[in-house]
């Protein structure tokens, strides 16, 4: 049925859904069908318009009446309007064709008038005009008219039934066209089979039927399509919404400051936001799609994360290192959540936090601390080395001086030698002081060699020595009592010598210095040094401070201003005190020295209570009183009713407690029966007699029960009745002890409630571990804080001894037991210390143990409150370490500066005297000349060392200044090599020069000289006996100076470190030297804007290269 297809296009819109077409054969069928159509409408309140032939109008009217309609009435009401089809049709025509406007006017007008007359919303219409046209053979006009009807439906609300007689159709060809103009094709009139002519009719009917069916299907399809479209629309809207949300979220994520990325199940990056790309510096296509493992520096870290995600964990702040595009490493904390399906990781969302700066700061700080700590460690070596290096030359000078003293026969020479020797002694003294100072401040204290000694003897020796040094001074020595103690003899002598010497220097010459020793106290020796003179109030507090400033020094002050400081340090090292007092032209310095070294037991965070022992003693000895006292005691007891009953139960005695508890006065109750105290029911039941009987039989009766007070109020009592017998065993009576438990009962209840509240509180506290121990120290309760801090779950720890939290050392020392003891004795123990968690890690905790007692003061256990201070302590520790290290370095620099300055004075004297002596003796006595040469060399060495120290300290405090001048490098090199000829031959080194001429630069001549000198001196020392090459040549804008030897070379890997302060290539055992020479070389090079490089030369030996820019550039000095 091809022609059908063209009509039943599913997407075509229906012309008018309520436009029906009815095909009929017989008029009867038609009228019946239309009448049914109309009556349904009328019953539904829809007025009807009928445009039909006369015959059909009559037929319809008949059918309507048959269906119960009052047709006349309906017409009168305008509910039914019947019009002639032909006349109406003619009214709509213009010429031979239906005219749209006319049709609208006429038919529309009819509908409008019906509508306004009836106020109906909808009209039912039946029209035959189209049939007329069709029968007239004007099929096109008929179709046109159908279209006009359809158009009218857009203006008026009506349904339309058209009818076509089947007899008007000669072929089936036009049927589809007609159907196409209608919304519904009603089932045609069934036709009974007849002749061939009817075959055509049958065919038409079946066609119509088929069309009708098809149109029905079409309607259903269309409806479902619409529904689908509707649903799709809703879906699309939802999708659009979701997309919007997703976009918003995506935008949010994309622009979020936090780096975020997602990874699929194969570990490939599926998405990354801008922050993530910025973090590592990649473009999107360089990052997304790549395996994330590629960007992880440490594969194990990444694998660990994966492992945890696969286990279903949420990874939080996992530390990782990521490779950025520029090759740098970023430190991040990654938080990640994975989607698991069937134990496989489908996707992962990762959030990163860039902690690179923090990490670097931490690493920097750690490095700084390490470096500082190393430098602090080097102090140890430094002080030792300093001692060695400075003392050797001193020793030479001393020996020479002393030898020559015996020889010199002329007074000038003798005096010079004397001065020389004294200078040495002064320097020696200063050195000693400085070293002591460094020990006290930098190395953490002066160590003592204590032996049993007599302070009086020491004082006598010192007095004698001081008298020798100050012949004019008067010293009065007075010793009293036992002056023995554990003392470092040399050090105490030093102290006394210092103090007495000071007293003489600063005191009034006319007042003798008193040195008084007192050994009366069993624990300590007191030494007083007094002189005439006053120390001002401003100066007094600073008396024992190191390096008393120049403005504070008196005119007779000598030396470094360290003697009083060191004396104080020595006294403190002994555990004693040094104090000064000055008033009215009299000054006293008092030293108190403990006879014995102080007990250095474990530091305790508590103070012992001396009264505790006494209390305990008291408690145990409350007994032993006479009868009278006992009676008095009983009488005065207020908490218990204690009274006697005669054998029959009558009250014989009464105490204060009984009066307070029961309410009766003694007068009121004595002689009464004790059943008075019992509730009526119990009295009636004979309870009292029963109690007495039991007490008599068994010796005592005890119970808790209700008793009555005088005013009738009941109280809960604990009652004890004891049978009292005479020595013969005869019953004398009963002793009754009653205790009012009412308060107790209420208190107990209240306590229980408060305990409950407390328990909940404790349970909930997470910051503190609060738990109970039994009297032996086993854990009996646990709270969430305890679990968090210690790591144990309640089930794992309850019942265990609390020493489980102790460190190994504490376990060995039995600290836990001690803590319990102290808590028991003092009621409380508090401590800060290391504890061990369940996983073995350490925590720094503040622990408070409180002993708990019941009402009878019996120990029932301990409450333990622990607070985790680990983080705080770690920060504290780091802070302290850093501060200490910095302080140590600062002090060492201070020391260097003072040492070098102070040593120069006697050195200057020394050199002057030596010059004098040389001039004097060089010509006359050659052997003396040799010795003097030796001392001259020694003093030179001393000077150099001191200069180096000074330089080092200047550099450390940023004071190295260059005095530049232009000169030729080769010339300078030759000068220096020349000057060091003696040294090179002594070291059996040959020095050859390869010097390019004409290298001129603007440098500090003496400093460059110093550099070369230091390098050569180094070479002589460490590469003795080998060939040394010095070369100087130029590069663009730069001069290169090199010193190369053929010695053992440098330890590989530590070449750069050689230029650090106090660094040394060789072990201290073998080579002396302060380790400052190369440091100074490096600093001078840098100060010029250049550099110093050390390396092992090819073919063996060390090579030092100094790069010096020819002219000054603006380059900051690296200190």
């Amino acid at each position: 049925m091809d022609d059908l297809a063209s009509t039943v296009a599913v997407d075509a819109q229906p012309i008018h859904p309520s436009h029906f077409v009815q095909f009929y054969e017989t008029d009867a069928f038609l009228c019946d069908a239309v009448a049914e159509y109309l009556i349904l409408g009328l019953r539904a309140g829809e007025p009807c318009a009928v445009i039909a032939t006369e015959a059909h109008r009559d037929g319809l009217a008949q059918q309507l009446r048959a269906r119960g309609l009052d047709v006349a009435r309906a017409e009168a009401d305008h509910r039914l309007v019947m019009l002639d089809a032909r006349r109406t049709l003619d009214a709509c025509m213009e010429g031979d064709h239906p005219h749209p406007e006319r049709f609208r006017e006429v038919v529309g007008g009819v509908l409008a008038s019906i509508s306004s007359a009836t106020s109906a919303q909808r009209i039912r219409a039946f029209g035959e005009m189209v049939d007329l046209l069709w029968r007239d053979g004007r099929s096109e006009d008929a179709l046109k008219l159908e279209e006009l009807w359809n158009d009218l439906a857009t203006r008026h609300s009506f349904s339309l039934l058209c009818a076509y007689g089947l007899d008007a159709f000669s072929s089936r060809r036009s049927v589809p066209a007609i159907c196409a103009t209608h919304g519904h094709v009603l089932p045609p009139e069934p036709v009974a089979p007849r002749a061939a002519e009817q075959e055509c009719a049958l065919d038409l009917v079946s066609l119509v039927t088929e069309i009708a069916r098809r149109m029905q299907i079409e309607r259903v399809l269309r409806a479902s399509l619409l529904a689908q479209r509707e649903a799709m629309g809703a879906l699309r809207r939802a999708e659009a919404d979701a997309r919007d949300r997703e976009e918003a979220l995506s935008h949010f994520l994309e622009t979020a400051v936090v780096p975020i990325h997602t990874i699929d199940g194969d570990g490939l990056i599926t998405w990354a936001n801008q922050a993530e790309l910025d973090l590592l510096g990649y473009a999107r296509d360089e990052y997304v799609g790549q395996p994330i493992a590629r960007f992880h520096v440490d594969a194990p870290v990444h694998e660990e994360m994966i492992r945890r995600l696969l286990a279903g964990d949420v990874v939080h702040d996992h530390e990782a290192r990521m490779r950025a595009k520029d090759g740098t490493i970023r430190h991040v904390l990654v938080s990640s959540r994975g989607d698991l399906r069937d134990s496989e990781l489908v996707s992962t969302r990762c959030f990163s936090r860039d902690i690179t700066e923090r990490k670097h700061a931490e690493q920097e700080r750690d490095r700084l601390i390490e470096e500082l700590m190393r430098t602090v460690h080097l102090n140890e070596m430094f002080t030792s080395v300093l001692a060695h290096d400075l003392r050797n030359p001193l020793n030479t000078i001393l020996l020479a001086g002393q030898t020559l003293m015996g020889r010199a026969d002329d007074t000038i020479g003798a005096r010079a030698l004397q001065r020389l020797t004294r200078s040495v002694a002064r320097m020696q003294g200063m050195l000693d002081q400085l070293l002591d100072f460094s020990r006290a401040r930098i190395n953490g204290g002066i160590s003592l060699d204590r032996k049993l000694a007599d302070a009086g003897v020491i004082a006598r020796d010192v007095a004698e020595e001081v008298r020798g040094a100050y012949p004019e001074a008067a010293i009065e020595l007075c010793a009293d009592g036992d002056l023995r103690g554990e003392l470092d003899v040399d050090r105490i002598a030093q102290v006394l010598s210092n103090l007495v010497g000071n007293a003489i220097q600063h005191g009034r010459g006319d007042v003798p210095v008193a040195l008084r020793l007192e050994g009366v106290s069993p624990d300590a020796i007191t030494i007083t040094i007094a002189n005439g003179g006053t120390i001002s109030a401003e100066l007094l507090p600073l008396l024992f401070a190191p390096f008393r400033g120049a403005h504070q020094r008196g005119p007779r002050s000598q030396g470094l201003g360290l003697s009083l400081y060191l004396s104080d340090q020595i006294v403190r090292a002994h555990g004693g005190t040094l104090a000064a007092w000055s008033r009215d032209d009299r000054t006293e310095l008092t030293v108190v020295l403990p006879r014995r070294a102080a007990w250095s037991g474990a530091r305790s965070a508590f103070a012992a209570r001396p009264a505790a022992a006494a209390e305990l003693h008291q408690r145990r000895h409350v007994g032993s009183a006479t009868d009278d006292s006992l009676r008095m005691l009983i009488r005065s007891i207020r908490d218990y009713a204690i009274f006697m009953l005669d054998p029959a139960g009558y009250v014989m005695s009464w105490n204060t407690g009984a009066e307070l508890i029961n309410g009766y006065s003694a007068d009121e109750i004595i002689g009464q029966h004790f059943s008075l105290f019992y509730p009526r029911e119990e009295r009636r039941s004979g309870k009292c007699e029963r109690e007495l009987a039991i007490a008599e039989r068994t010796g005592h009766y005890e119970e808790q029960g209700w008793r009555l007070r005088k005013d009738g109020t009941p109280f809960w009592a604990n009652v004890l009745i004891t049978a009292v017998r005479d020595p013969g065993g005869e019953l004398v009576g009963f002793a009754k002890v009653t205790r009012d438990l009412t308060e107790e009962r209420l208190a107990k209840e209240a306590q229980r409630q408060s305990e409950e509240r407390f328990r909940l509180l404790v349970e909930g506290v997470a910051e503190y571990a609060i738990f109970l121990l039994d009297p032996e120290g086993h854990v009996s309760t646990w709270n969430s804080g305890a679990e968090r801090i210690n790591g144990y779950r309640a089930s794992e720890i309850i019942g265990k001894h609390f020493s489980a939290f102790s460190t190994e050392e504490d376990l060995r020392a039995g600290k836990a037991e001690t803590e319990l003891e102290i808590a028991t004795r003092d009621g409380r123990f508090e401590d800060e210390g290391w504890r061990i968690r369940k996983d073995g890690s350490r925590l720094w905790a503040n622990v408070v143990l409180t002993a708990l007692h019941d009402a009878s003061a019996k120990l029932i256990g301990f409450a333990m409150v622990t607070r985790d201070l680990t983080e705080r302590r770690k920060h504290e520790d780091d802070r302290i370490r850093l501060a200490q290290a910095q302080e140590a370095v600062r002090l060492r620099d201070e020391f260097l500066s003072i040492a070098s300055h102070e040593l120069k004075t006697p050195l200057t004297v020394l050199r002057m005297q030596l010059e004098t002596l040389r001039k004097r003796f060089a010509r006359t006595d050659p052997s003396i000349a040799t010795q003097l040469d030796r001392t001259h060399r020694a003093s030179q060495r001393l000077t150099e060392l001191v200069e180096t120290l000074l330089d080092a300290s200047r550099i450390a405090t940023g004071q190295l200044e260059l005095r530049r001048e232009t000169f030729d490098l080769a010339t300078l090199v030759r000068e220096v090599v020349d000057r060091m000829g003696e040294g090179s031959s002594a070291a059996r080194c040959t020095v050859t020069c390869h010097l390019a001429e004409g290298i001129c630069g603007t440098w500090d001549r003496s400093r460059v000289d110093q550099v070369l000198t230091n390098l050569l001196a180094n070479a002589f020392k460490y590469a003795a006996g080998t060939a040394i090459e010095v070369s100087a040549h130029g590069g663009p804008g730069i001069a290169l100076l090199e010193v190369r030897d053929h010695g053992p070379g440098l330890p590989p890997g530590r070449e750069a470190a050689l230029f650090h302060r106090f660094e040394r290539a060789a072990s201290i055992q073998h080579y002396g030297g302060l380790g400052l020479g190369l440091y100074v070389v490096d600093q001078i090079a840098r100060a010029h804007g250049g550099d110093a490089i050390a390396a092992n030369a090819p073919g063996g030996g060390a090579r030092f290269r100094i790069e010096l820019p020819l002219h000054p550039q603006s380059k900051a000095m690296n200190v």
């Binding site: 001692a387 060695h388 050797n392 001393l398 020996l399 060699d449 073998h1070």
Partner: protein
């Protein structure tokens, strides 16, 4: 064979070594100087008799004082030679106690040196 007592001075500092050697020589002792422990051992082997005293510095290149002393004590012929430590280090006392020898703290004066040498080189 000389009648004089033999004293060894083992000290790496040239000037001090020479000063002490000179001083002792002038005081009548045959004195031999060595710049480190290894050289001293060589000289000991080569000597025709044992010294009556060895003055020993601690800090020296090639072989230091403590190592030398250890080597010395290993040889039965030398183990009884008196040794006195000389050092600028304040902990020389502890080291000397450990080595069971006497010690002098630098700077050592003429009198001190002469006194200690006299003490050990008294008997012939």
């Amino acid at each position: 064979m000389s009648n004089k007592h033999l004293v060894f001075v083992i000290e790496d500092d040239l000037d001090i070594r020479c000063s002490i050697v000179e001083l002792l020589e002038e005081s009548g002792y045959h004195t031999v100087g060595a710049e480190n422990g290894a050289a001293a051992l060589e000289l000991l082997r080569a000597a025709d008799r044992s010294p009556c005293l060895i003055l020993l510095d601690l800090m020296m290149p090639i072989m230091d004082g403590e190592t030398f002393h250890g080597e010395l004590r290993k040889q039965p012929g030398w183990s009884t030679i008196p040794v006195i430590l000389m050092s600028a280090y304040r902990d020389v006392a502890e080291r000397a106690a450990r080595m069971q020898v006497e010690h002098l703290v630098k700077p050592v004066g003429v009198d001190e040196l002469l006194e200690v040498t006299r003490r050990y080189c008294r008997r012939i």
